[in-house]
């Protein structure tokens, strides 16, 4: 037995210039991060303030950083595909088929698992505890494990560029093609272990968020007083807890097939491929709603804040969210209508699929009616929200079309489908997260993002989106299958060139996002927000300072209404100082979370390359770390009341200097600084 399993020198990509440059960019990227940290002499800060942190806010920021990095990587994949298809009419283009297949697989895998999921976990981590008036999530250490397991999964996808190859089996990895017989290399294993390891992290995140919401709400925060973002997180957490096991089982069994020669999904020896597809989509469809519900939550917060009105139809939005959560488990078969279920079965799932559009429609009307007669302020988060509303409805209509099995038989596996789900996920998920990013950035860092560049990013994204994906609807109707590396039908090419131009405009949007971040950091002093309430906000996250103190709330707020913070401002009690402060317990920092993530990465890598001794060693390391942690009864430290008082003194000094909030022209704020109306 080889000590390095099947890892040999051939695993390094010297066989192709494009693959080698991908590897070079990955390695250079990692080296430049190390160089920048060293240059800034920031290792101590990075390690002791961030990597070891159990603070939900810092963990949230690290999640979003991971998401933004992976967004770049996933976008480069997308641009390479669009470039290939734009030129590969009657010729081979510039990408060999094997490489093209890896790219569409990694694009989907990265965008779903390592862009959307971390972005979602990051926004939830940072904001949800503050919205319910809590000081942290229920299980801060488990939160760190979730983060670092997600990083480990992302690391496996990234390192597959340098060592070995990635899967060519698509982001959903259907057997038998993803089985060992047809795919003997390491590609599918990279995909499997990245997804499995990150999936465990997501399940734990779901448990953490759910317990936090049910057990850590501030006094008076009844369920029906929770902000809508928190409501969507609540439902999303339930979906994570109950849907992710299906992914774990599907991928775990496929891994058993591949690694130990079992026969769950093989062609021969009694395998049943359909069973994989059922299990995968039993997770996969709820996953769509796991991603999109928190984005709906962001839109709800943004639309109310920038329309300067109470959210229209709060109860109906809550009910619609719950309905979507339940219905999301009843539609998974629409992903494979063509696989030969009976007409009755297909009809049932077709009908359920059209029904799930109803609560979503309710939401769209609620958002529109919130805007109706509101004094709308067109800041970038609001632009993304409006862009979402228009674009998402179009995508929804194409979805209702695809829900009809006879129509689906025509469109299945064509670019019509590709256009449809991008038409849902880009406005529905990505626009939501970008809106949340721009909306809550000042909360996390204490200064606003540049609005000009934010506006430009929006226009590039939305124009680019329409140019990139509307042609794919047409191509789908013309019969173009998805995932084609080259084609011989010249009539397709003009549409694909338009789509490539769209991708180029989206690239400009991505660049605008980068420029926005750089410019905002450079000009941060001018954009500083002293109040903590950057947008004249409505929910409790705006009651903390920006960035929030480690404990968020020096004294827990008492909630009397939906829009709790707005209500406090109206009553003039939002900025009152308590008579005295109390000691606050906070989680101590620890490196064990990151250590477990690192061991998870090593374990995945060892399983991919069949390095059994290393896999056992990594598992033993994880076990040992967990035992050490479970034997430690001193996981918290106490922040003494006088230090809390000191921090709060500073905060109120800032508040007294703060200019009147530019958005606060509400009667409740007439005249003077934010402190007016307080004692």
């Amino acid at each position: 037995m080889e000590i390095f399993g099947r890892l040999t020198i051939e695993a390094f990509p010297f066989y192709s210039a494009i693959a080698a440059s991908g590897a070079a960019i990955t390695v250079l990227g990692a080296l430049s991060v190390i160089a920048v940290i060293t240059y800034l002499r920031a290792w101590r800060v990075v390690l002791f303030d961030w990597v070891s942190s159990l603070d939900h806010k810092k963990i949230g920021i690290m999640y979003v950083m991971l998401a933004l990095v992976m967004l770049m990587r996933g976008f480069i994949d997308a641009a390479m595909m669009r470039g290939q298809q734009a030129i590969a009419s009657g010729n081979d283009g510039y990408l060999p088929a094997d490489h093209f297949d890896q790219i569409f697989t990694s694009h989907g895998t990265i965008m779903i698992f390592f862009m959307a999921m971390p972005f979602l976990s990051g926004l939830i981590n940072h904001i949800m505890p503050q919205q319910i008036g809590a000081r942290d999530v229920a299980f801060p250490f488990m939160n760190a494990i979730s983060l670092w397991l997600t990083v480990a999964g992302a690391g496996l996808v990234l390192i597959s560029l340098v060592v070995g190859k990635f899967s060519t089996a698509g982001w959903s990895g259907y057997p038998p093609y993803s089985g060992i017989e047809y795919n003997p290399g390491v590609g599918v294993d990279y995909w499997l272990w990245a997804v499995l390891i990150a999936g465990v992290g997501s399940t734990m995140s779901g448990i953490n968020f759910l317990v936090t919401i049910l057990k850590r709400r501030a006094p008076g925060m009844h369920l029906l007083r929770m902000p809508l973002f928190t409501w969507t997180v609540f439902v999303t957490s339930i979906l994570m807890i109950f849907a992710f096991p299906a992914l774990t089982v599907a991928c775990g069994l496929l891994a058993l097939d591949r690694t130990f020669g079992m026969h769950f999904f093989t062609n021969a020896a009694g395998g049943n491929m359909m069973h994989y597809i059922n299990l995968f989509w039993l997770w996969g469809h709820p996953e769509v709603y796991i991603l999109i519900l928190p984005a709906f939550g962001v839109f709800s917060e943004v639309v109310a804040t920038f329309s300067q009105k109470r959210l229209f139809g709060y109860i109906s939005l809550v009910l619609a969210t719950m309905a979507i959560g339940i219905l999301s488990f009843t539609v998974w078969l629409h992903h494979f209508f063509t696989m030969g279920s009976s007409a009755d079965v297909n009809s049932f799932f077709g009908i359920m699929t059209t029904i799930i559009a109803v609560p979503t429609g309710v939401k769209v009307f609620d958002w529109l009616l919130t805007m109706y007669r509101g004094r709308i302020i067109f800041k970038p988060p609001m632009l993304y929200t409006i862009g979402f509303l228009v674009t998402f409805v179009i995508g929804g209509l194409s979805g209702v079309l695809l829900a009809l099995p006879p129509v689906d038989y025509q469109m299945h596996n064509t670019t019509f489908l590709v256009a449809h789900f991008h038409n849902m996920i880009i406005p529905g998920v990505l626009f939501g997260y970008l809106a949340g990013y721009m909306f809550w950035f000042p909360k996390a860092f204490g200064f606003k993002l540049n609005e000009t560049w934010g506006t430009w990013s929006f226009w590039c994204w939305i124009v680019g989106f329409y140019l990139a994906f509307m042609p794919l609807y047409v191509l789908g109707l013309m019969g173009m299958p998805r995932r084609m590396e080259h084609y011989d039908i010249a009539a397709w090419q003009p549409h694909l060139i338009v789509a490539a131009i769209g991708a180029f405009i989206i690239l400009l949007g991505v660049i605008c996002l980068g420029v926005q971040l750089v410019v905002s950091i450079r000009d941060r002093e001018q954009a500083r927000d002293m109040t903590g309430d950057s947008w004249n906000g409505r929910s409790l996250e705006w009651a903390t300072s920006s960035p929030p103190a480690p404990y968020n709330f020096a004294t827990l707020p008492i909630v009397q209404s939906v829009d709790a913070f707005w209500d406090m401002k109206q009553r003039g009690v939002a900025y009152r100082r308590p008579d005295r402060y109390v000691d606050i317990d906070l989680p101590k920092n620890t490196f064990l979370g990151a250590f477990i993530g690192g061991a998870g990465f090593v374990f995945g890598f060892a399983m991919i390359w069949y390095i059994w001794w290393l896999a056992i060693l990594a598992l033993a390391a994880v076990t040992l770390a967990l035992i050490i942690r479970a034997s430690d009864d001193e996981t918290e430290f106490t922040l003494p009341a006088r230090e809390v008082e000191h921090m709060e003194d500073e905060r109120f000094a800032h508040l007294s200097k703060a200019p009147r909030n530019e958005l606060a022209d509400d009667p409740g704020f007439a005249g003077g600084s934010v402190l007016e109306g307080s004692t």
Binding site: A134, R135, A138, F139, T203, G206, I207, N208, L210, V211, K215, R216, P219, I241, F242, F244, P245, A246, T248, V249, L253, L256, D257, F260, G261, M262, H263, F264, T266, A268, A269, G270, G271, N272, H275, L279, L282, T555, L556, P557, I558, Q560, M568, R571, G572, V573, A574, R576, P578, D579, R580, V582, I584, D585, T623, I627, A630, S631, D633, T679
Partner: protein, 204 residues
Amino acid sequence: MTAGISTTTVSGVIPASAAQKYEEKAFGFWIYLMSDAIIFALLFATYVVMLDNTAGGPTGKQLFSIERAAGGTALLLLSSATFGFASVALATSNRLRVLQWLAVTAVLGLGFLFLEFGEFRSMIVEGAGPDRSGFLSAFFALVGTHGLHVSVGIIWIVVMIGQVSIKGLTRPVASRVMRLGLFWHFLDIIWIGIFSIVYLPGVL
């Protein structure tokens, strides 16, 4: 505005208080068990789907010994009872009894695993290993996953024996023993499902 945030400090009932924390951990653990139950539910479903996919290989009827399965069942059910005694001893803060019953539970669990390994070994030797057919893959995945859980449970019991010996029945230690109990009884319930769906049909 006496109800404003200024005048009411709620330090007496802050959610960070110790009692609340243990309750949160127990609640979180219940939710984890529900999530784990979904994994087993899907493995059961997989087993039932694959039941006839023997690919010309041996069937359950030919392979399974109801005596051995009944022996394993007896050991595991008994271990649930002995864990119950450990919990009773925990409630009365009898440290020595807790240690004794935890040790007995671990030994019974090891006995169960011994029988299971014996069954797996003899099947593999007979050429009825997990790579023989879809049916056997599903069998080994379902029963093996349960066995893996029992192994984790035994490691956890050993850790808790260590903690109770060194730290005594402190509040955090007691709360961990309680969650371990939930885990152990949960595995018993899963096993009853396995016994009924995997082993019983072979003799009926």
